[in-house]
Symmetry: C2
Subunit: 495 residues, 2 copies
């Protein structure tokens, strides 16, 4: 099979557009064929819409983007393509006819794949020339972001076809999943469809709304499914004896009317397959180890969703609002009269903050100082309402001096000292400490400028905030000047 | 109903332990009752195991942790608890008997809730004293991290019970989902169970292994389910006319043998309910707007999983390895002879990097400079193999000067200039540019120290790396010294 430089698309639409965007982004040329000439503008629009998200997927250097061309003549496409992906409507006879047609014009070493959601490859390849180079390659929407592609061969498909397809899809950043036997709906859509039909039953029976049913997934199992499937999750839920215990404990539920779907008989042979399968998945990792991995990604995924204020991330935001409010109420004006540096943030080094040696990455020190500034601002009355009124502090300059390493899981806290302040500026000094012995692991000196965001220029700090700030500044004036303040990187040009 | 200061647990186990960990973390005292005295050590262990993950969930200030006590006498627990959560084995008669028993000892203003996965509240409350204060509160494993809790009342439950339970669960960071009608399995477990039974059928039929079936979710639909459920996702897949188009297009599939579960008849009434439900979920947001939100979180979730090298994150890592290798091969030695500053990183401001005004957060500038250093190190031969041999560069000092704001989506690039280098040190200067006009939006000056990681002390840079570095240093010696280099924060103490 050929090395793929040019991808031919037979049919456009949402799926074809997704394939085009992904292939172009990773440097593959694309020739899209569609009988409707108006689809040219459509597919160019689809590629453009996908680009902002794709551009953020990785920092790694990308080859020059591929070139997109369009034709209404499938022969033009077939003459240029090294790999052909069919994305026409989900009708068996139509697909059979078009696949046979394109196979007459494409050389026999060009893989031809179908994006079909559920049709069987043996049926689709029936009338093709060189049917051994055909397979199903079923992607998921949005194709340009989701890595999964199911690969299914028919009766006449040769293994080299699946291998070549897998190599190409891996090249454009995907995860090919070879399916060992053709069945309607392949693997993924059977699982999705079971869930979907149960949803339709519950909506039909008036048990729940679509929104309630979506919530029943996204705040719970959906978070787990981002990185572990049902089998691995149930293996973990079974405690030390894993899937076997789980089946013993919840086996009886299979007889209960928990869904409209009848379960198979839980025979010894089936139990063995489930247990052996999940043991293979665990790859020797203990339940405890897998639990830690699960917990790590569950925390990290919720924090990402928090940024977008969606699903479990909204729950986390609401919780934090309440915690900040409670803490402010508990502290009262007390904090502002503190004679020493303010201790406003406690945290631990998170697993996603470390790299290589499990040491905290350099920019995360500044992240923690940023959290300390947020807490400081809350203390002096700079909150969402203040920002909505068009006033804000910007960090204009920062100097970080790294003194010690911080390992993953290390408990830390930050103390913040005000070095100076005038009507528009705030000069602060943070120290990041290890909680166990108070040792300083880094310091951060920062200059913040108060701005009018609409005018985009420096503006005086509002009086109420200024007053609170002044109380802290005056109290901190008695503190010694930090040795690390006022320093520049290196000391001489001759470093 | 009472304000909750103390949570009583009836029964421990995995679920009871999860409840204890979550409640204690958010400042609630817990009294756990279990007939087996050995469960005291067990639940203390469970709380301890949950703590590392919980401690990383939020930076927000937490109240002092609650206190955990244990008793084998449920009357002792009932006398102290403001809210009682039952977590005993999933047997109807046993639960009925124990719930009746505890209801005789707990005042009538104490909510009593059951963690049951699928039993009906009307059955459970049958023999209770004051059954109106009873409801099902069904959580998900791990209870200390997943926010979902389904709330289901029985025939005798009053609305105030559900409201009080919802308020308590929200206080400990959860998302209460009131279920409007009691059915076996509530909502979530019906959906999970449909998927699970389909898995059992496919494993039983020899169609796929447990690992293949898990992969069929985690690389595709599972990523979507982290923040949008099936209904919203299908609404998006329907294009501009959303769910209605989707049902027209995929309605026929409901008759196909895609799962062992028969779908309901797709009547006009059902179509209307599905369409109205998803419209309500969209809350006026267009399909395009929702697509952008979906794309944003799909990118961000994959980047988080990349940190843990799990699922789609492993796919992304493998892709990046290949891209870096290709780029290095394409560049050859060319980069190292470049006369100007090196241009090694191109990126755009990601949505999760911004705050408040959609401007890039301060620490993300340093994040981008870190990516530039990674790319620089790859160029001079500092790769995973070099690090595995126990040699590494540490950032010891950084000065960032912020000149302009960068809005979300802004395309950027970094240029890197070597200011100096000796046998153990590397002094570099980064400039972050806007791609559209080349304007500098920030500069970063850094001192990196080469260390022997085992000895944890400075050590000479290896010769091959040193030679490449020296070529770049010599070429850059002709470049003008940056005006921002060698500066310290503020300029005088009197800031």
């Amino acid at each position: 099979m050929r090395n793929v430089k040019t991808l031919g698309l037979l049919g456009t639409g949402v799926i074809g557009g997704g394939w085009a965007a992904r292939a172009l982004h990773f440097g593959i040329d694309v020739v899209a064929a569609d009988v409707k000439p108006e689809m040219e503008a459509w597919i160019r629009g689809a590629v453009e819409n996908a680009e902002p998200a794709l551009a953020r997927l990785t920092f790694a250097p990308l080859p020059p983007k591929g070139k997109l061309s369009f034709t209404t003549d499938l022969r033009v496409m077939a003459a240029q393509a090294d790999f052909i992906q069919e994305n026409i409507p989900e009708q068996l006879e139509l697909k059979q006819r078009m696949l046979a047609e394109v196979s007459r014009h494409a050389p026999a070493d060009v893989v031809i794949a179908s994006s079909t959601s559920g049709l069987m490859p043996s049926d689709l390849q029936r009338d093709m020339v060189a049917p051994e180079r055909f397979c199903v390659a079923h992607p998921f929407n949005p194709v340009y972001l989701l890595p999964l592609v199911e690969l299914v061969g028919g009766g006449k498909t040769v293994p080299a076809t699946i291998e070549a397809a897998a190599a190409f899809f891996r090249f454009i950043g995907m995860h090919p999943l070879p399916v060992r036997r053709e069945i309607p709906g392949h693997l993924t859509d059977r699982l999705q469809e079971a869930l979907w039909r149960e949803i339709l039953h519950m909506v039909n029976d008036g048990v729940a709304t679509t929104g309630e049913l979506d919530d029943s997934i996204i705040y719970g199992p959906g978070l787990r499914w981002a990185a572990m499937g049902t089998n691995m999750i149930y293996h973990l839920a079974g405690g030390e004896s894993g899937m076997r215990h789980m089946l013993a404990q919840f086996g009886p539920c299979l007889k209960w009317p928990w869904t409209k779907l009848e379960a198979p008989e839980l025979t010894e042979a089936l139990i063995d397959r489930m247990v052996e399968g999940t043991q293979a998945q665990a790859r020797g990792r203990s339940i405890r180890e897998l639990e830690r991995l699960r917990d790590d990604y569950l925390v990290a995924v919720q924090q990402v969703l928090r940024q977008y204020d969606i699903g479990a991330g909204s729950t986390l935001r609401a919780l934090e609002e309440r915690l900040y409010k409670d803490a402010a109420a508990a502290a009262g004006a007390g904090l502002a009269d503190s004679a020493g540096p303010l201790r406003l943030v406690e945290t631990v080094v998170r697993p996603e903050w470390v790299d290589y040696n499990a040491h905290m990455t350099d920019y995360r020190y500044l992240h923690v100082f940023g959290e300390a500034m947020d807490a400081f601002y809350r203390t002096i009355g700079v909150d969402d309402a203040y920002r909505k009124a068009g006033r804000m502090f910007y960090n204009v300059e920062t100097h970080v001096a790294y003194a010690r390493e911080a390992k993953v899981g290390e408990p830390l806290y930050v103390t913040t000292q005000v070095l100076g302040s005038n009507e528009k500026r705030l000069h602060v000094f943070h120290r990041l400490h290890r909680r166990r012995d108070g040792e300083i692991i880094a310091t951060g000196e920062q200059m913040h400028l108060h701005v009018d965001t609409a005018a985009a220029k420096a503006a005086p700090i509002e009086m109420a905030v200024r007053a609170k700030l002044e109380r802290i500044r005056a109290a901190h004036a008695a503190l010694p000047w930090p040795t690390e303040a006022g320093r520049h990187v290196g000391r001489t040009k001759a470093s």
